[in-house]
């Protein structure tokens, strides 16, 4: 009896050992090796009744900025300016709820593409890096092989497309192709793709490039719903999915240990009324082991200087750059009243 017991324990142990070693993924595999973080946040719809989409995108903007991604690495595309819309009863504010708890507009919002600049063309050009030659650096996605990119899209969508500004749409195929071109050009390490539209999951179904984790506010055939109406502004103030995302992100701090799988489960069907879609097959890591700050925070390695050069001789630049000769322009005041132009008799 004792022997069999012992045997059983032994077999159990063996089984347990083999199981645990089979499931366990090595630590370094789970560790991300990205060296910088970027965010592309896009609101594709304009007009006052789409107030909620601007509130959506600014909620994410507020969170990533708070968690440490600098403005120079956030590309914010907003089609309309709700904060300064004449219908806004409280100018220069955009709130996440009717209780006006969080002003997502904040103090400084740096919009990179605004109004009619938010177009399919500019979006795809931004992603693939094929921008016109005179584009300023602040409007370019200057990512490299070590970049983790957070892409957030919100607007009105349908099965297989996302509408931009009532006049055009980006299809899921185009988006998938753009991401593939980014991958081929080594423009990212990993991408976290979030989309909050109707039938949102149709947008990521065509993706075929590796290292992409995607989530969507609704499945194909479902609508994404808005959260509530603010009677002061007369329209819906925010979408359900993003409302709960913001609520979740407000409790995340740069050093927090929250994981991506918590983020993916942020809006259960009871809250969202639509089913949140997730696609993990392209993603190499286990979302339950990926800290949320891999995408929402920012890594900025800092290396302390231990070997400054002890410069003994003061250098003098030999090759002088030719100073552009500055001709002093003589300036004087124009008389305040141009009496010389008036005929005085």
């Amino acid at each position: 009896m004792a022997f069999t017991n012992l045997m059983l324990v032994f077999i159990f142990n063996l089984l347990y050992l083999s199981l645990s070693s089979g499931i366990e993924i090595p630590e370094e595999f789970q560790k991300s090796n990205h060296t910088n973080n970027w965010a592309v946040l896009v609101d594709t719809s304009r007009f006052w009744f789409n107030y909620r989409h601007v509130a959506n995108v600014l909620s994410i903007y507020r969170s990533v900025k708070r968690l440490g991604i600098p403005d120079s690495q956030i590309i914010l595309m907003i089609s309309d300016d709700m904060a300064c819309n004449p219908r806004n009863p409280r100018p220069a504010t955009i709130f996440n709820s009717a209780h006006e708890q969080i002003n997502v507009y904040g103090d400084d919002v740096e919009v990179d593409y605004r109004g009619y600049e938010v177009s399919v063309e500019n979006f795809i050009r931004l992603l693939t890096g094929r921008v016109p030659p005179d584009t300023p650096r602040s409007k370019q996605l200057l990512t490299d092989e070590g970049s983790n990119i957070l892409i957030y899209l919100t607007g009105h969508g349908g099965d297989g497309f996302l509408k931009f500004q009532d006049s055009e749409e980006v299809t899921s195929q185009e988006l998938a192709d753009a991401l593939e071109q980014m991958w081929q050009k080594k423009r990212y390490n990993e991408i976290f793709f979030i989309i909050d539209t109707c039938q949102a999951s149709s947008m990521y179904e065509k993706f075929y490039s590796p290292n992409i984790l995607a989530t969507a506010s609704s499945l194909v055939g479902e609508d994404s719903l808005s959260h509530h109406v603010d009677s002061a502004i007369g329209v819906y103030i925010i979408d359900r999915y993003t409302y709960y995302v913001l609520e979740f992100l407000e409790n995340v701090h740069p050093n927090s240990k929250r994981t991506m799988s918590e983020f993916l489960a942020v809006c259960p069907k009871s809250a969202c009324l639509s089913t949140v879609g997730v696609r993990k097959d392209l993603f190499n890591r286990d979302p339950s082991k990926v800290p949320i700050t891999d995408f929402f925070g920012s890594v900025r390695p800092v290396i302390l200087t231990t070997d400054p050069i002890n410069i003994v001789e003061t250098p003098k630049r030999k090759k002088k750059t030719e100073n552009k000769t500055k001709v002093q322009v003589k300036r004087d005041y124009v008389p305040q009243f141009p009496m010389h132009l008036v005929q005085v008799t």
Binding site: T35, S72, V120, I303, I311, T321
Partner: protein
């Protein structure tokens, strides 16, 4: 009856010929024309050449001259070096051995000072030639080997051969960095230095948070011109640089420093944790306006600590205090920061005036720039003495090594870019390749074929051009010309356009065919 038949026959044949002409215009002329005009325009590309590229097969070549007092020593050293690098697939060294002339031996015996000896030897050796390194025997050294600023290394005797190989591998040729430059995934050095570009913009910002309480005396423009300018001039064969300096007033940053009491003039210092420093970079970026330049910007910032927060000392992640008198750090692919605290006696005065030491501050910045531009740190090697740098200019052999690294990096990157473009053209059908892009690709291919990437000088320039061409081809805006004409929606556009016309034409085909076939039979009948 017969004439009526004839009339209806003629009528019918008229009708038939009319519809046949419709068919002719639409199907025989129209369809090919439509096919031709809606074709995705693509210049023919040298796909075969592109697919034959092997980015991992590239290596660099370099020359090494071994000079010794006697032939036996020279042979021993040469064979050791050959043995060590024979297996290397990344570098091929052409070694030449010489027994030194009596005059050279005399110089080396009589001159004790190393720098002097190099100077004197330079009259007999050509040290100015790029990509040629000299290993010279000099008896009675304090170390096994000695390396200075010129393309020369002294060694004591044949016992030093192991150290020589280590120094050649780690310092002079940096094979691990070369391997990192070639490989698919970046290594430490590649993720620190800026990606290869033809030009960079360097901005030095002097950050003065409290200009009302203290005056800072510092000639930023001159410091940039003299120190940074002299440094970048040495790298002018690789990149162009534009330099700029600016003052940023009232930019305060909360270091969250912890006050620590100590027995010094101040009686305290403020401890700043290393992980807090990355937020300073974010704060600096807000104001530094570095994106005004269309080039990639290397940021340098001198942060002047206000008196009430001074002195600041950085503690690393393990909690160790920075032992140096200068508090500085850098961030890969971003730039460097120096934190300058005013001395205690200045802060106790009524009129405060602080003049940070130009040499010390710029020494830190130049050491940042060296790493950011690809000159790696040299780890100590046992038995080897590396003369510390005393000026802003990099060592001559460091520039050679950088040239080799950049050449290899650009060649492999150009090849990878072309290959991935070729693959994308296969995968995605609506990418347009116009004449300009085609020319860029052809230029890149021809530069690569011309043998870029073997070594220094002209090859480096060629590698740079190949890289630039490939880059331009990949990111040219015209590749997206058909963005609004997606392949999967082509027929959604054509069907409503052409179906109403094509429908009767296609239907008439059957009757036409019958008529053409049936005509002789019909004729027979009338006969």
């Amino acid at each position: 009856m017969g004439s009526e038949n004839n009339i209806s026959n003629a009528d019918e044949s008229n009708r038939m010929w009319a519809s046949a002409s419709f068919v002719g215009v639409l199907i025989i002329i129209g369809m090919p024309l439509w096919w031709k005009t809606t074709e995705v325009y693509r210049v023919s590309l040298p796909y075969e050449k592109i697919s034959s590229f092997k980015p991992l097969s590239h290596f660099v070549t370099t020359e090494l001259k071994v000079l010794a007092n006697d032939d036996a020593t020279a042979s021993k050293i040469v064979s050791e070096i050959q043995k060590a690098f024979a297996e290397s697939d990344i570098i091929k060294i052409k070694i030449e051995k010489t027994v030194m002339s009596e005059r050279q031996q005399h110089i080396l015996r009589s001159v004790v000072d190393m720098e002097k000896a190099v100077e004197e030897l330079a009259s007999t050796l050509d040290l100015d030639q790029e990509n040629i390194f000299h290993v010279v025997q000099k008896k009675s050294l304090s170390h096994n080997i000695w390396v200075g600023n010129e393309r020369i290394m002294f060694f004591d005797d044949e016992k030093a051969s192991e150290t020589i190989v280590k120094a050649l591998d780690g310092w002079i040729y940096q094979t691990s960095v070369l391997r990192g430059a070639r490989s698919d995934t970046p290594d430490q050095a590649r993720s620190t230095r800026f990606p290869p570009e033809s030009a960079y913009h360097i901005t030095l910002s002097i950050v003065h948070p409290r200009p009302d309480t203290m005056q800072v005396v510092w000639n930023a423009a001159e410091a940039v011109e003299d120190y940074i300018g002299s440094f970048v001039d040495e790298l002018s064969s690789l990149h162009n640089f534009t330099l700029k300096s600016q003052w940023l007033h009232l930019l305060d940053f909360e270091f969250q420093a912890r006050e620590i009491k100590e027995a010094s003039e101040w009686g305290r210092h403020f401890a700043v944790r290393q992980d807090r420093l990355s937020l300073l970079l974010t704060r600096l970026e807000e104001r530094a306006a570095t994106h005004v330049s269309e080039l990639s910007t290397i940021n340098l910032a001198l942060y002047i600590v206000p008196c009430d927060k001074a002195p600041i000392i950085i503690y690393d992640n393990e909690g160790r205090k920075n032992p140096l008198s200068i508090q500085a750090f850098m961030s890969p692919k971003w730039g460097g920061v120096v934190i300058a605290s005013p001395p205690a006696e200045q802060c106790s005065q009524q009129v405060r005036e602080f003049e940070p030491s130009v040499g010390q501050v710029m020494g830190a910045f130049v050491s940042h720039l060296r790493e950011l531009l690809g000159i790696t740190k040299k780890d100590a090697i046992e038995g080897a003495h590396l003369e510390p740098l005393r000026s802003v200019s990099p060592r001559r052999w460091e520039v050679d090594a950088l040239l080799r690294i950049r050449t290899l990096e650009q060649v492999t990157s150009a090849e990878r870019t072309l290959q991935s473009l070729a693959q994308l053209l296969e995968e995605i059908s609506n990418i347009v390749i116009n004449d300009e892009v085609g020319a860029s690709i052809a230029a890149a291919v021809s530069e690569l074929e011309a043998g870029a990437g073997e070594g220094a000088g002209a090859d480096a320039a060629r590698a740079g051009r190949a890289h630039a061409h490939a880059q331009r081809a990949f990111t040219h805006p015209s590749l997206l010309a058909l963005l609004y004409f997606p392949d999967d929606q082509k027929y959604a556009i054509y069907i409503p356009l052409f179906l109403p016309i094509m429908f009767p034409v296609v239907l008439s085909l059957r009757i036409l065919l019958l008529w053409f076939m049936g005509k002789p039979v019909h004729k027979e009948k009338t006969d």
